[in-house]
């Protein structure tokens, strides 16, 4: 393309970005689970693998989702909002996906300010299609934003007390069942291409996918944009102080984070939404980053709820 042909195209883009067209479309908001939730994580050297040899599998993964919002910088008074909240079993999503909310007669423009929440469940929460009422009640009664159960396994796995290589015991399987009230809002969501929000096609439907990730508590950093990190699971085994094969939240609260997440293993936990002093703080800090967008896109503005 020559410069002479490029200039009118650029001018058209600038014009269309600053004016409304008057046409409308629809928006469907789906809740999507990252593949790491139904499929778990495998050991290996690949980008999505756990580098210290552990296999991860989840048996329960409940989240509370809600408060979807979208607006446009060019017309901030126009807002798409659904303040409701829903408990979602991410291992039991309907085959066609779970639709959190829908909007019709939406301006066919780019809605560049998008956010949603993973709040602490309250009485208003509904159960998503495919989610047991008992799971919804459990989340509401405890006021939880997340409940996750699963295990890490490794044939030659060891639990080394607070990371001390001189204090290791065999631990081929370590279970966990963690409930957290770590309500967090996520805003300024952008797709994997980095473009903020979503575009509504004239006469068509934009399908929006807030995406819940299932691997952040294995990260060696606090995700800041692109997930440039390693995944490690040894910390869960090393926090099992009583060696009973299950790492509890109380054990995480008693484990100094500096011992389980050393810089020598590549950990850098700057940028956490909360101070990280214990392993529980690490878990909570990572839980507060699980809300992503359109798969691998990010919602970099996170606030405590």
């Amino acid at each position: 393309m020559t410069t002479a042909r490029l200039i009118p195209v650029v001018a058209l883009l600038l014009t269309s970005a600053c004016t409304a067209t008057g046409s409308t479309g629809s928006v469907q908001v789906f809740i999507e689970a990252e593949d790491t939730i139904p499929e778990g994580l495998d050991p290996g050297d690949g980008e999505e693998n756990v580098v210290d040899g552990w296999t991860v599998r989840y048996s329960k993964f409940l989240v509370t989702v809600g408060d979807f919002k979208a607006s446009r910088s060019s017309a901030s008074s126009e807002v798409l909002a659904d303040p409701g909240q829903t408990v979602v079993d991410l291992l039991q999503l309907p085959p066609g996906g779970f639709v959190l909310t829908e909007f019709d007669d939406v301006a066919a423009e780019r809605w560049d300010r998008v956010g949603y929440s993973l709040p602490n469940a309250d009485d208003s929460a509904e159960a998503a299609d495919g989610t047991d009422a008992a799971d919804r009640d459990f989340m509401v009664q405890a006021g939880l934003s997340l409940h996750v159960e699963g295990e890490i396994s490794k044939p030659d796995g060891q639990s080394c007390l607070l990371g001390d290589p001189a204090a290791c015991s065999k631990a081929p399987v370590v279970r966990f069942s963690w409930s957290l009230a770590a309500g967090t809002s996520f805003a300024d969501c952008a797709g994997p291409d980095g473009i903020a929000g979503f575009a509504v096609p004239s006469g068509g439907t934009a399908q929006i996918k807030p995406t819940i990730h299932g691997d952040h508590w294995f990260f060696t950093n606090i995700t800041q944009g692109a997930e440039i990190t390693e995944r490690r699971a040894q910390w869960i085994a090393d926090a099992d102080a009583d060696l009973d094969g299950e790492t509890t939240l109380d054990e995480l609260r008693a484990a100094p984070a500096a011992k389980l997440f050393p810089a020598e293993l590549g950990y850098n936990l700057s940028g956490a939404l909360i101070p990280v002093v214990t392993a529980y703080d690490y878990l909570e800090a990572q839980v507060r980053t699980l809300g992503d967008f359109q798969g691998e896109g990010e919602c970099p503005t996170r606030e405590l709820l």
Binding site: V10, L14, A17, C18, S74, A187, D188, N221, I222, T223, Q224, G225, A226, I228, P256, A257, A258, K259, F261, P262, A263, G266, N268, L269, S270, G271, A272, L273, P275, V276, V277, T289, E298, P300, T301, R302
Partner: protein, 240 residues
């Protein structure tokens, strides 16, 4: 210390890019750079940690360079153009609770949502390894006394907080939020060095003897460096 070694675009380059944009592109941004003061305040020198009463007699910190970013969770990629920079390394006495002016932030108009910074040791893309940028030669020097009944422990900690990767600051995504600061703005960073010692096992240190040196490679060093990373300065802005 110069700014352009970062993967960020230096302000001067950012200004040049802005001036090349079409003037009518959905309004213009104020591209004139400006400055406003930055100061640091420490905290009290004496505090309890478990059964021990700890008193610091020295708490020197090397701070900087520091960058202000437009996105709330900012990797160097997301903070490609800084909205503000304090490009120097200042050595600060954290025992002083009063704000200590350390220089000026060179800024561009725009909302700030996070910060990135080094504790005096930077690893620019042009360097083979991380290098200290101040006369302190390290990130921090903390010394003092811990007392538990008749037990007295003197400690002297020299701390290096290294950037994890070449081209990346040591701390990224630090919470820092202000809408559209201007020449009348004032940035204050509050730092409590006592919080960085909370994870220390003073019982274990006392077992080593009455005088303990904490140096890179020691477990206690890792504990303090970890805390400096996860409990960063608290940013606040005022306006005169």
């Amino acid at each position: 210390m110069s700014f352009p070694h970062r993967p960020l675009k230096p302000l001067a380059l950012a200004l040049a890019i802005m001036m090349m944009l079409p003037a009518g592109a959905c309004g213009t941004t104020g591209a004139e750079p400006f400055t406003y003061p930055i100061a640091v305040a420490g905290a009290g020198a004496s505090f309890p940690i478990g059964d021990w009463q700890v008193t610091l007699d020295r708490a020197d910190l090397a701070l900087g360079p520091l960058y202000l970013c437009a996105t709330a969770a900012a990797s160097p990629e997301l903070c490609e153009v800084a909205l503000g920079e304090f490009a120097e390394v200042a050595v600060i006495d954290l025992l002083a609770a009063e704000p200590q002016p350390i220089g000026e932030v060179l800024a561009l108009a725009g909302d700030v949502r996070s910060a990135m910074l080094d504790y005096g040791i930077s690893w620019f893309t042009t360097q083979a390894r991380a290098t200290a940028g101040s006369e302190l030669g390290h990130s921090a020097h903390l010394s003092g006394t811990a007392v538990r009944g008749a037990d007295i422990l003197d400690f002297d900690a020299v701390i290096d907080v290294l950037p994890p990767l070449r081209g990346s600051p040591a701390l990224v995504g630090v919470r820092a939020r202000v809408d559209d600061p201007d020449q009348g703005s004032r940035l204050l960073l509050r730092i409590n060095p006592g919080a960085w010692l909370l994870g220390l096992d003073f019982d274990a240190l006392a077992a080593l003897g009455p005088d303990v040196e904490i140096r890179p490679g020691d477990p206690a060093h890792a504990t303090i460096a970890f805390a400096m990373t996860t409990q960063p300065p608290v940013f606040s802005w005022t306006h005169e």
